[in-house]
Amino acid sequence: MHTRLKLIVVLLALITASAGVAQSSQTDQDKEDLKMAALEALMHAPSEQALPIVIKVLNGDNSDDLKEGALFILSQIDHPDATATLLEFARSGDGDLQLEAIRMIGINGENEAMAGLIDLYSAGDEDVREAVLEAYLIADDVDGVFNIAMTTQSEDEYEEAVTILAAMDAHEALSKLREAKGPSDALITAYIISDNDAELRILALDGSDTELQIEAIQALGIVGANDADTVLVEIYRSTDSEDIKEAALEGLLIGDYDDSVLALYRASNNVAEKRDLLEVLVVMDSDSVMEVIEEALAGDQ
């Protein structure tokens, strides 16, 4: 009996303790939420009153979440001290806070801070470089990304910069890159992302690198510009290369241009080619397939 009583007392103590821990963590979360609410409200306060508190949060022993919130508030404050603090954290902050500070410079978009990003890129590790590119993207700073794409010696960094330019729909910069650095896989992908059929046409007709030309022809079908089928048919008809023909046909298939494939089918006198074209029409689930089959059975074509 005595032992059972002891056991009950121990169990009750354990239950009370675990409830206490849960309540304590809830209280901590409440405190953190209140601090975050106060920080967010500081966005609407005059900068001379908000800044000292926000800077204290960054320099104090606060959670990373709160400090990241403080960095965002700094990005919203139009004051030289806010910009200077963001740059300071972008240069010497630790881990995620440094990366967040870099991105916040992009949100802030202030010229002086933006100008400091290129040095951070040159001196930074992979994460820093990625954050700098994101900052340029956020600030819609095409020149910043273009500059990196033009000067980097790393293929990976070039690809990353080109992809960012595509996300920014920076058509002019992407054209300049082709002229300056020549065509590449990265550029073709960028042209697809940015729906740049004009550049893809140039590459689709450029026979200097067959592999890239094939990629560009297929990409033209993916982008599916208004008269992409005309270009693809022209390429198909004018080439002697089986690979290029196949790529043009794939472009027509991807772009769902069944009328153009049907026209090629009807114009062809080559049985093997007609069979290939009919197969493509079948894969495309074209309405004209039955018509073509009936014509073939009747010996019309």
Binding site: L34, L39, A41, I53, K56, L66
Partner: protein, 165 residues
């Protein structure tokens, strides 16, 4: 001194105090704010010197809108308004405090209005909510309006709130 003379003295003293308050007497009677339509009253503002004008729309004996024109909103309307004149800070806050737990925006508007009052009372009301109210959303609202009051005392409190564990 006879009782009559002492009474006269007291009346004269009361009149002197009333005269010191200016031509306008402080109104009383917000509690009886039951008539439908827009009402307005003035209180000393948190921005010293100055006054805030509080607007309340009453419907069937209950407020449906509370507005304090200024940085955050315009004068709610330009129609007929029952003007209650200058009201004491305490009376105004007492009245507004009844509605801070209202649903929709009314609660937040009541807190916003409280935050615009001069003196310690308005900040103390907000601090009490922040520190001891069980409604977490209301606590965050109180913090928000405390910051927007832009008073030095409010920023000192926010500083302590954020920096203290």
């Amino acid at each position: 001194m006879s009782l009559l003379i002492r009474m006269r003295g007291l009346i004269a003293f009361a009149l002197m105090i009333a005269a010191g308050l200016g031509n306008e007497t402080i109104a009383s009677g917000l509690i009886a704010l039951t008539e439908d339509g827009w009402h307005t009253w003035r209180v000393p503002s948190v921005e010293i010197p100055g006054e805030e004008r509080i607007y309340v729309l009453m419907r069937s004996g209950e407020p449906t809108e509370i507005e304090v024109p200024g940085r955050w909103c315009n004068t709610p309307h330009d129609g007929e308004v029952i003007d209650l004149g200058l009201v004491t800070t305490d009376e105004s806050i007492d009245w507004l405090q009844q509605y801070i737990r209202s649903r929709s925006d009314l609660g937040s508007d009541a807190l916003a209005a409280i935050s615009r009052h001069a003196g310690d009372r308005s900040l103390n009301v907000l601090i009490e909510i922040v520190e001891s109210d069980s409604d977490h959303e209301l606590r965050e609202e109180a913090v928000f309006w405390m910051v927007l009051s832009e008073s030095d005392a409010a920023f000192q409190y926010i500083d302590r709130l954020i920096m203290n564990d």
